[in-house]
Symmetry: C2
Subunit: 474 residues, 2 copies
Amino acid sequence: MKRYEALAEEIARSIRDGLLRPGDRLPSVREASRHRAVSPATVFQAYYRLEAQGLVRSRERSGYYVTRSAAKALAAPPEPEMRVPPPSESTELDVSELVFEVLESAMSRDLVPLGSAFPSPELFPLARLGRSMASSVQQLDPWSSVDDLTPGFSRLRRQIALRYLVDGMHVPADDIVITNGALEALNLCLAAVTRPGDAVVVESPTFYAALQALERNHLRAIEVATHPREGIDLAALAEVLERHRPKACWLMTSFQNPLGSSMPDAKKQALVELLARFEVPLIEDDVYAELYHGTSRHLPAKAWDRHGLVMHCSSFSKCLAPGYRVGWVAPGRYRQAVARLKLTTSLTTSAPAQHAIAAWLEKGGFDRHLRRLRRTLADQQATFLELLTRHFPAGCRVTRPSGGYFVWVELPPGVDALELHRRALSHGISIAPGPIFSAHRGFANGIRLNYGHTADPRTGPALATLGKLIASAM
Amino acid sequence: MKRYEALAEEIARSIRDGLLRPGDRLPSVREASRHRAVSPATVFQAYYRLEAQGLVRSRERSGYYVTRSAAKALAAPPEPEMRVPPPSESTELDVSELVFEVLESAMSRDLVPLGSAFPSPELFPLARLGRSMASSVQQLDPWSSVDDLTPGFSRLRRQIALRYLVDGMHVPADDIVITNGALEALNLCLAAVTRPGDAVVVESPTFYAALQALERNHLRAIEVATHPREGIDLAALAEVLERHRPKACWLMTSFQNPLGSSMPDAKKQALVELLARFEVPLIEDDVYAELYHGTSRHLPAKAWDRHGLVMHCSSFSKCLAPGYRVGWVAPGRYRQAVARLKLTTSLTTSAPAQHAIAAWLEKGGFDRHLRRLRRTLADQQATFLELLTRHFPAGCRVTRPSGGYFVWVELPPGVDALELHRRALSHGISIAPGPIFSAHRGFANGIRLNYGHTADPRTGPALATLGKLIASAM
């Protein structure tokens, strides 16, 4: 256990034991640092962690306070442990049928969307964005599509480059390619560094879209054990790199889908160094980057990349404009290959959407919107965990991600997630069953739940129903 | 020679000989039909052909008249003959470097864009479309993306289905998948019916994007001889089907890029029947469908499809909204496969662009815009051919497409198109050299020229320069 983890754990114990009560102020960072002889950074990390767990909350220029819901949050089910997947051989993929079945069954507004991959569209400023588009699209220079054809609208690329700069990363606008959402970016990256039959490392469990993309590109998957809190197991990864010489790794380093895990900074750095040793490119899926629940951003692994091996993919679909389909990739040394693939795959990205988002970013309302969105999602996580604690039977475990909008629930032994999915559907509830997140259809007793719809009044009753279904299956 | 061709030829001769003069009215269809004992349809076809050649023009409710430029058009260089490509073995593809070099060299507003793949953006009602988007985007139901996720916005699919209906084709809205332009549609179709290493039939010459897409999907190309006026050679195709059992044909049946050829209806029907005999799907690239220069639309091969084997791909990029990137495919029996590939490739298509185009189509301004656009392109072709006749040396041949915005020029023997491309570039002119349209880099003395920018005052001087460069290379 790291220092900051030990410190966070100790404070959490104080809250659980009633030594610290709702409304109490934590010692300032400076006090705590001096008093415990640890660096201020360690204290910060501990406080962030407690904040992400919903136990404390910062008030500007005033410090950290224990939240009202802290005691309840501590009463929530324990976190799951890392499951070691079967021996890491590469797997030919044949997941589509199951995944499509599950996805297609869930495509209806009438279901309570706990299995959805998207947060509620009502979290986004779509009407204001529409007004922004209304004016930007009328000033659209008809010739701009000639200049910006494949890499995308230059003003948008400049805005994205500026956001990298704020994070201390140097990614020039010319090193960015705009794509039809992050999914196209990820597919282009795969195509740039693999040929049919090659093996690619993914997390275990991993986002099913990664498995689908691998299958679509005729690639094989190697699943590597992934910790529910701290991401992929580097020792296991090193062994796989040594033994299989895969052509790429496709990882979600922050707020991983489905676990919600995030690799700590030092681990991201170690990951980048490990991959550089084997000259294996990292396809970094960072679509939830902006959705951290604490006060500071998690840097992507790309921040430690010295060799241009990290292809950083993200989008505006999860943080600003779902449905606009504007994503991007900073492909490092693969920039030309990716840009050319973009040209032969879909030529370029829809101009009005690019222009509207560029105009919105230039106006400066983005960060205000993001602060509100992050706070909302953190609140929804707390509410969701509370409901889950109340309704789910003992024996369940649940992750407490520090960002995004998914929790991963480990059901009590013997409860089958696919069976639960079918029964939940018949009660008008969608969930995402574990086996769709694995090439070998493992995680038979895991489910991913979406807390990005918690404002939906059907959420509480749905979780109550789900709890009963789980109990009756035990 | 078909009846209508003979009739058109005879009338053209009368114009050339001065028997029919500018402003003269042709006999009415009824008169001509009675007088020559041919069906009215044959007369219509002959008149359409003459119209597409710029020799006559119809005036509403009044008949067909010889144009002012008819005599000049008849003085234009002769049409090229069909070139038989090398023996049709399948070719592993490695065209990209050359094609990218040529495309990237031409990406600048400062060049006279005779090599461009796009017509002038000034031909499109982008400002009015922007206003339509401005209002439609503000009424966008945030939840609609959930309902219409992968196949696309249902109101847009309905509008497209209606346009099929007007053409007498039954393609229900549910059989349509909206894509990021036609290029994505074509790529999805390829992926749906092939695996790496398979062979696919293309025209010779063929649109370079088809070669790039084949290469990107690790496929092999079989080029089949294609007539500059009437499209692919069916006898040669039958032999290839028999011998190679390719997995698909990718053809442009109307206004083929780069030749401008269009298969007559009967030939399209024969094509569909031939492919059905071998159970080979047709990927029909029909992006110029709306750009016919005569008075009636060319039906796609899809119109004769009884087995769901034709995957009809088109888009709004060339006829309404370049840069919006909204295309579609009617994939017949491959509908589910294509929709699932769309889901795993780019999830869905940009919502604001889909909604704006749907609103525009519902309002009913589309056909008015198209009539204007077609007339403009037909006029530009006539002007372009006139300029070409004036400036190009004898020994050149040129196609007279009945739609689209490309002509194919066969240079005098010994003039090298790639060399001409390089010299033209140094004079600020882009052209599209023949070898980028062929897997085996044939057509060394062909070039494709774009007449969709003829309103650009630089066009005349550019063609004069080009003519001199050709003459000096002879």
